[in-house]
Amino acid sequence: MIGQLRTHSLPLAALLALAAAPFLGFGDGFALSLLARAMILGMAAVSLSLLIGGAGLVSLGHAAMMGVGAYTVVAFDAAGVSEGVIVFPAAIAAAALFALVTGAVSLRTSGVHFIMITLAFGQMAFFTASSFSSLGGDDGYTLYARTEWLGARILDNRLTFHFLCLALLALVWLGCSRLLASRFGRVLRAAKENPQRVLAVGFQPYPYRLVAYTLAGAVSGLAGALLANASEFVSPALLSWTRSGELMFMVILGGVGSLSGAILGALAIVLLEEWLSHLLVYWRLVFGPLLVLSVLFLHGGLIGVIPRTRAALRLLPWTRRNANA
């Protein structure tokens, strides 16, 4: 239990900070909507981390799942339905179905093929979303109102929305890590390390991977539905492949192989982007090189910073003398 706390100290601190943020001077509308966006993208990043770190499936089309969720909300809104009891399950189901169908094809391949195919399917979703002229096409669609729950407009309160996102983020993290620790997750992780051996033991990796892919799609669908509510606006840019790349960056920056790292990565990137874009017009001139440098030099991601600094401290002459004594 103590060990658990120690390895997850950084993400737990982040979640606590998020819970305290509204009462520490970050309670204005701007800060809350920024944090909500970070938490929602964090959910999608955790589900992507389940695929990349857990199952070894490097998907470059994850934004599409989020997009399917968001566009389901929009489609219901256009049809005059904004009841959460209908809309949210539908968004999750739609994204899961999309993941199931594209996953069934993509998972027949592996390695680079898988990266390219998920990217291609993501792009397919992007173009499809752009061609729905009844849902705004390229220009996007502005929601009339946030989703209601049994007729009550509880999502309109920014503070409620903040804590809802926080609770769901914690739940997604918990659920995904329970899943990876289960027997199901063991097969996934083993198939990532050595598919031949898994086959030899008598497991077919394919159905396990497909279920994981579908589940990750469902979580991203939830994130997409929340994101549509958070910004009250949905456009095809939500599905663009740069968004998928960003999600992947969140996972890597946080640290592959650790689900909670994805939360840190999401927070770091959303805040960094916001800060840089306020500072500079061409802020990607800084963001892009930072991305490249972090890939080249930051092995193990942010989550590895604490153990690494601890290891580095141990090498310092005065601490070493202590260790010997």
Binding site: M116, W283, V292
Partner: protein, 309 residues
Amino acid sequence: MSMLLVQALNGLQFGVLLFLVAAGLSLVFGVMDLINLAHGVQYMLGAYVAATLGVWTGSFWLGALLALPVALLVGLALEWLVFRHLYRRDHLSQVLATFGVILTVEEATRALWGSAPQTVLEPTALTGGPLGGVEIVGGLLYPTYRLIIIGVGVVVPLLLWFLVERTRAGMLVRAGATHPAMVAALGVDIRRLFTVVFAFGAMLAGFAGALASPIFPVAPGMGDTVLILCFVVIVIGGVGSIRGAFIAALLVGLLDTIGRAMLPDALRLVLDPSAARQTGAALASMLVYIAMAGILFFRPAGLFPGARA
């Protein structure tokens, strides 16, 4: 009927452009196992440089010609700065680092040239007059420039085939793709070989961009669309196979172009006009990906599985 012919020619020439980009991508992947998302950036830079130098020199052809060495140099610089450090890394790191390169270069393009599409000079005949068109069936004129691109699509693949299959450098490339350690042990500087292949691929993509500049809008992000279609081409054709890339590129080019032109009209036979336009447009943009899914369903390794799976 003549409409279909025109669209088929347009599709062929789009396929040729796709092939020029995909060939470099496939070569780089086949030889050094590097998945390079930033390859589309080379295509974009080729178009920008050709457009700018064309306006400068007053001749489209001079601009396009000068774009080749520039694309080569940019390729060499990027290889030295970033890609060299990625050869031994996993695909995930490669995807992310090259994604970072895309963000940087596209933003730099926006900062230098602005977000608006660039003016491109019209390609002229060698005599200086307008290039005009060539009469195809029934008095229909088809632009000569577009036919020249199709001609490039005949010459470049033959040249590539000769380079890879019949020359010493090509032999080293093929050997390096399958047995890099052995080639290095025989005294070949494998790093230099990698650099050369990479720069060559970058130049091909830049060439494609220069050729495309009078036809497609020269704007930031133009490389992304092509890059993703090239991935489809490589997946359909089989990774590392130049022959597969060629056939798949033409297939994708034809399917995409004819689908976009014909589907909305074809659907009008069964749907009312506005619904036909919308579903037609949506279906047409999905067509290539559906075809890819279909082919993969039956042949997971693509039509022509290469040396490396």
